[in-house]
């Protein structure tokens, strides 16, 4: 589940500045940002167990937050990071009001049960399937941690960007990532063949 946004940071920064300055260019800038970020934001929310219809509303709310808060962006963090931070804050507000919970019906449990029993004669295919399954479980159990990994891979974020996104110090962000890595290992070590590689 990728959050990849294909837009140069300079462009995103120019849009943010146009929004902050107001006037007629603001609408064009909002449209530009919306076209690039609305779907990744929506996917990010859905990934965090926000129902699909509600995720659309959260996207709208996020862009209203962006327009209201654009003047607060000082360029300390890259524009793209700041935009994602606004989306994250909106998500946190939503989660405070609605604790996400997962309830599966009998049919869904059957699917889970069957997927757990999957076994292939091909060791490589088994390993791939196992890794995907465990990664999916990790993403489901720890969506925020999984999101950070996605941002590292998709946006090439390092510690400074993640620290800004998580609203933590760089040292705290490093500790968070370290814990994230440790937790992920616990999931992936179940795929024993691969676990033997490190």
């Amino acid at each position: 589940m990728s959050y990849r946004v294909i837009v140069p940071d300079d462009t995103a920064a120019a849009w943010l500045r146009a929004i902050a300055e107001g006037g007629r260019p603001r609408e064009k800038a909002v449209s530009g940002l919306f076209d690039k970020f609305s779907r990744p934001f929506e996917r990010y929310f859905i990934h965090h167990r926000v129902p699909e219809g509600l995720a659309e509303d959260l996207v709208q709310d996020t862009f209203v937050d962006i327009v209201r808060g654009a003047h607060q962006w000082r360029g300390d963090a890259p524009a793209v990071v700041w935009l994602w931070t606004v989306a994250r804050n909106r998500l946190l507000g939503h989660c405070r009001r609605n604790r996400p919970e997962t309830q599966l019906d009998e049919e869904q449990w059957e699917i889970v049960h069957n997927s757990a029993e999957f076994a292939s004669e091909d060791p490589a295919a088994w390993k791939t399937d196992c890794l995907r399954r465990q990664m999916g479980q990790f993403e489901s159990d720890h969506p925020e941690r999984a999101s950070c990994l996605r941002f590292i891979v998709d946006h090439e974020w390092g510690v400074p960007e993640l620290a800004a996104f998580l609203s933590r110090s760089q040292a705290a962000a490093k500790e968070y990532l370290s814990q994230c890595r440790k937790k992920l290992r616990d999931y992936l070590k179940n795929c024993e063949e691969w676990a033997g590689e490190y």
């Binding site: 007629r24 609408e27 609305s38 862009f63 990664m135 590292i152 090439e156 370290s178």
Partner: protein
């Protein structure tokens, strides 16, 4: 910086995930490479659908309503007139039938939405001719090329050809009614008697 034991290791792990050679020169993270492969696996990366034009218009409309987007100056901009005409059209009691859509725009609760069948938005009104002409005037004021006619069965058809530059102004007419301009710019709206 990386003076704590394990810092280099973590930095190298992050660098590998980012697809870069570790700055520390350490070559440990086969795990990170495998994880990166997993996260960039095409099977796990469903492509994102294109942006939703209607959702964008909803946002623009909301921002304008909340005073966060500037409308252009009075009297000189056809969009102002188009918006006014749109509001008048709604006030006149237009009722909309949404063909296969998701339902009414949430900001227009007073408009009744019913699913249609043939993909053409249908307005259920008291007087199709009068309301159709009102709508046609509003669309013309917004700059689009419009033709409108009474069909033999008593329904009134309004057609407009909307070019890209005209879209914002025409949207101002249509958004209050929850109607989106088709991608090809060929707008058709049918008005039927209640």
């Amino acid at each position: 910086m990386n003076t704590e034991p394990g810092d280099d290791d973590l930095e190298a792990w992050i660098d590998r995930l980012r697809g870069r050679a570790p700055a520390s020169g350490r070559d440990l993270p086969r795990e990170a490479l495998a994880l990166r492969d997993l996260l960039t696996d095409p099977d796990s990366r469903q492509p994102l659908p294109p942006p939703d034009a209607y959702a964008r218009q909803r946002l623009i409309f909301r921002l304008k309503r909340e005073g966060l987007l500037q409308s252009s100056s009075w009297m000189t901009d056809t969009r102002t007139w188009a918006l006014a005409a749109g509001v008048v059209a709604v006030a006149l009691g237009l009722r909309i039938v949404f063909p296969g859509g998701e339902g009414p725009a949430p900001d227009l609760a007073e408009i009744t939405a019913i699913r249609g069948v043939d993909g053409v938005p249908t307005l259920r009104v008291d007087d199709p001719v009068a309301r159709g002409q009102t709508l046609a005037v509003a669309l013309q004021a917004a700059g689009s090329t419009v033709r409108h006619l009474l069909l033999p069965d008593g329904t009134y058809l309004v057609e407009a050809l909307v070019t890209a530059p005209q879209r914002p102004a025409v949207d101002q007419v249509l958004i209050p009614m929850g109607i989106a301009i088709p991608e090809n710019g060929h707008l058709r709206i049918v008005l039927v008697r209640k």
